[in-house]
């Protein structure tokens, strides 16, 4: 029976030859992600209800990031509890932790960076942007805390096999357009529930040409279209990205894993296609990611803050791209440009290549890795009436601070261009 890449991965997890959309499977989970905000109830379930250890064979990656570095006493306690949990289980060879220190960062960047997301893996996490790892050919999706506790205890979880939505992108992205614009174009057309319960499968020559980090932008935002997951079939790019990152004992299979793809005659719920060459810089206006307009139509919107960071737009290439625009320019008077490298390794690279200096010269403020202000946590929270243009993924009411503040979503290029003018400005051609 012909199957999509998602169905193939879930069939293996269910121990079956094949699965069909709508089917409820009891899936064996390869990897569970835990971070500081959603773990307390998961830990409680394992400790108080099952009273056993972590399920055999389950890999657990602990990557605190939301209110890190600890922003107040309550978040310091959350961090401490998560690390206590790690201490209890650290003899388990399948548990990996990235505590605040020389190698920590935003969880959805840490997992790929540290080689924890491989093609064909089933990865769950109590965070909605867990869908990011589809960029590496994994099936990954967000779950709740109770569910995470049950995964810890049993290594399994019921999953509904999603229908797949095929998104074919031909052509070449123009120089001033990034994967972020591509996703905004799609969600603007299909709406925030346009892919509800589905797997968004990205394909076509424009996707093949995207770097892994750019693919991560479109899979990261799958949830903003209501999707269960986003996925790009792995290829040479995936292999080259992963090879230096995965542990020795998993390298042998890597080449074979990167052959994983949908069968040519697999069934899709729907298929849509775009020509990347037609795209222009886009912006999602408050208060939904689907409220999309060309940046050029919003040039009268004055901004107070520009934000580059988080799991959608805080990757190395995002900073390299924004820096091309900022180079030799100053941030507009009265505008705050906040730059948050997603991981310490990215921070170090930016330091070594002179990017940190470039950002500081432009007038930007550079912070330590954190989810920070993306969810209104800290490090750039907005006051009533303030306007922020951000590379992040959500612009819901109150998302980055006061409920009467507004968030516009755009690519790192467009955010940088806007920081210079002080008004929403599409990245120049």
């Amino acid at each position: 029976m012909p199957q999509t890449i998602t169905e193939k991965i879930l069939a293996r997890a269910a121990g079956k030859e094949a699965v069909v959309p709508g089917e409820i499977i009891d899936a064996k989970i390869d990897t569970l992600l835990m971070h500081d905000l959603t773990s307390p109830d998961a830990i409680k379930v394992l400790r108080n209800e099952f009273r056993n250890g972590i399920a055999e064979g389950l890999r657990v990656v602990i990557a605190p990031d939301h209110y890190i570095p600890q922003k107040d006493i309550a978040s310091a306690i959350l961090y401490k509890e998560l690390m206590n949990f790690y201490e209890e289980h650290k003899d388990n060879p399948n548990i990996f932790a990235y505590p605040l220190g020389e190698n920590y960062g935003v969880c959805h960047i840490m997992l790929p960076q540290e080689g924890h997301a491989l093609p064909g893996d089933v990865i769950l996490g109590a965070d909605s942007h867990t869908c990011t790892y589809g960029a590496l050919g994994a099936f990954s999706t967000g779950i709740g805390s109770t569910e995470a506790g049950n995964v810890l205890a049993t290594g399994r979880l019921w999953l509904r096999v999603p229908e797949s939505l095929k998104i074919y992108i031909s052509g070449n992205l123009p120089k001033n357009v990034m994967a972020k614009d591509l996703f905004l174009k799609v969600v603007g057309d299909i709406d925030v529930d346009g892919a509800l319960y589905q797997a968004m499968e990205w394909t076509g020559e424009a996707i093949r040409r995207l770097s892994t980090e750019e693919r991560m932008t479109i899979t990261n935002m799958a949830i903003e279209a209501g999707a269960k997951s986003g996925i790009v079939a792995p290829d040479d790019e995936t292999y080259n990205y992963l090879y230096p990152r995965v542990p020795q004992n998993r390298r042998g299979d890597l080449s074979e894993l990167c052959d994983l793809k949908s069968d040519p005659d697999a069934d899709y719920a729907n298929a849509i296609s775009y020509n990347a060459s037609d795209l222009v810089p886009l912006v999602a206006q408050p208060s939904l990611p689907s409220n999309v307009k060309p940046a050029d139509e919003l040039n009268d919107v004055k901004i107070d803050q520009a934000y580059i960071g988080g799991c959608t737009g805080g990757k190395l290439e995002d900073f390299v791209s924004a820096a091309e625009i900022l180079k030799g320019n100053k941030v507009a008077k009265g505008v705050r440009l906040i730059v948050v490298p997603s991981t310490q390794k990215i921070y170090r690279k930016m330091l070594d290549t002179g990017l940190i200096g470039l950002y500081l010269d432009s007038g930007a403020v550079v912070s330590a890795p954190t989810c920070g202000a993306c969810l209104g946590g800290h490090t750039g929270v907005l006051a009533p009436g303030e306007v922020c243009i951000s590379v992040t993924n959500r612009n819901f009411r109150g998302r980055m601070g006061h409920p009467e503040s507004s968030v516009y979503l755009a690519s790192p290029l467009t955010v940088a261009a806007s920081a210079i003018t002080g008004y929403i400005t599409g990245a120049p051609k």
Partner: protein
């Protein structure tokens, strides 16, 4: 602990629109705890008063509503289980929506808190107003609107019914594993 799915839920409804996101249900700034009693104090705190002139919570933080009626994609956004926890602790027993965001739906089923996610056959937001009373006859998948003497349906729970009946995923899995 096994729990009975109630046969009937009746009470005042709070009517909301499409795409009610989890940042509205419980803003992230309160996510430094998962304590239900703390979370309920901030349920729906950031609603736009222009759009929702009647607040969800009373000034003393009590809630008069037992049922939320909403449009499409209720609970979109974050995976935070804090959302159904906050609503359930405030007193909500059922959310009737035209559709649900998947993680919110899973959290309401698997969390075992009896805040039933009921997917209505039609969008009810135009048929009821905040403060109206609805009666939900759960086992018959009927929603009765006494104000208009109208009846609506909702989709059966399907395969997740066993989890709801067990009292959530934890209890369900414990039963399966023979744990007490």
């Amino acid at each position: 602990m096994k729990q009975e799915i109630p046969l009937k839920i009746s009470g005042k409804v709070y009517v909301m629109g499409n795409n009610i996101d989890t940042d509205l249900i419980i803003p992230a700034r309160y996510m430094t705890t998962m304590d239900p009693e703390t979370l309920k104090l901030h349920a729906m705190e950031d609603l736009d008063p222009k759009q929702y002139p009647i607040p969800f919570l009373n000034p003393d933080k009590t809630c008069d509503y037992r049922i939320i009626v909403a449009g499409r994609n209720f609970g979109c956004g974050s995976s935070r289980e804090h959302a159904p926890i906050a609503l359930h602790t405030a007193g909500i027993q059922a959310v009737v929506a035209a559709s649900f965001a998947r993680i919110y739906y899973r959290n309401s089923v698997n969390g075992g808190r009896l805040i039933l996610p009921l997917e209505s056959d039609m969008d009810l937001t135009k048929n009821v107003a905040t403060g109206d009373v609805l009666e939900i006859i759960v086992n018959e998948q009927r929603i009765f609107n006494p104000q208009k003497s109208l009846e609506y349906g909702f989709k059966p729970f399907g395969p997740v019914k066993g989890i709801l009946e067990a009292g959530g995923l934890t209890e369900y899995n414990k039963q399966m594993l023979g744990l007490k």
